[in-house]
Symmetry: C2
Amino acid sequence: MAGRARGTSAGLDRARIAAAAVALIDRDGLERFGVRPLAGALGVDPMSIYHHVKGKAALLDAASEAVLGEVAELAVTTTTTAQHDPSGWQELARNIAHAYRDMAYRHPRVFPLLVTRAQTSPVAVSALESLVAAMRRDGLPDRVVADAPMVLFGFLNGHLLARTAEGQTAVPAFDPQTHPAMAALAPGWSDFGSDAELDRMLDIVLAGLAGS
Amino acid sequence: MAGRARGTSAGLDRARIAAAAVALIDRDGLERFGVRPLAGALGVDPMSIYHHVKGKAALLDAASEAVLGEVAELAVTTTTTAQHDPSGWQELARNIAHAYRDMAYRHPRVFPLLVTRAQTSPVAVSALESLVAAMRRDGLPDRVVADAPMVLFGFLNGHLLARTAEGQTAVPAFDPQTHPAMAALAPGWSDFGSDAELDRMLDIVLAGLAGS
DNA sequence: CACGAAGACCTACAGCGTAGGTTTCGCCAG
DNA sequence: CTGGCGAAACCTACGCTGTAGGTCTTCGTG
């Protein structure tokens, strides 16, 4: 299987390694991910990976970069194929949020990586540029526009992190005796994790931005 | 130093272990944390820890539980010592958010743990109970009240995670040629990570909840 | 044709989580 | 007072991890 002579090329590069890392994390989870399993999946010696990636931390950087790249592609195609120009900042914000959400659900086990890392990649700032430009065009005050990206992605990161966390697929029941208000609200949590739920919360956040 | 006879008690229990784990993570970071260093800090054999905690995952659970306990204490004292009754849901929400923020800044390296775990501990639900009760008392529609905790903590978790992440202490500069809108907003990001910044964003989120 | 860089493999090491076994102490029943 | 028993600690050992350092082969270039 790994019958390659010692000096022959294995065709490794950062992109191929990152893609394999994402696939492996998707399948086995972050916990089990490591250099040796990855090398096995690539049919390669573990140390060969270190010729393209500095270390395990850089490996995780590459993986999160790769999935972030996906959302950029999706956001672009969604925007360009829309019938009408999404000039309104709220529609644009919704498109970006949906693309981001789709990525998170496609790679739930990679998503935690993304959230912990600084997002200064070119694709990320391009998306933000178009959003803040639209907001200014629509007359929102600069103070609000400056806060908007962090409010929006703060919410998205936190919410999607909770939704993609392993094992929590529903809100637990509450005792009406000790927690009457929570128990009364239980019906409102029946669509836990649904797209409609996120859209509703997104509306709340966007309303806050619009009204400030 | 570790001169204890084999069967003598080391006075271990879950609380002491959790406290030591939090201290160790605060000092050395999650990456370096492990059973053996923890045992060293406690002056104990690594395997002794397993008599009180099932495994490393449970160890991390205990640590996040411990810091969450802190925020509950703080929120209670803040509320009870306030001059006037914080009956308005917005003030209560701000108190809870500030207590949560203080905890995150006190234990920036433990905070990521907290965010990934389900928060169904009694102290957490008690805080939420008082918040949603106040919101209903103030006449907000149940639909909004049901979404409120997840919107609020989604935002807080995501934002504080970004703020407590290692190494990102400022927003980078943007090229006015390629990203004019972002460059124009740069002055608005000068208070990155400050309390005022979080309060502003919190106002935006609360405004969204109030206006929905 | 020589040679140096690039890219792959191999070896080795310290440290990890933890399963399983052993030792000792303190308590309580008889 | 004593016997036994469970709790709590320690010890050993195993398979795994990330990665430093060295070796080998091939390919592009002078």
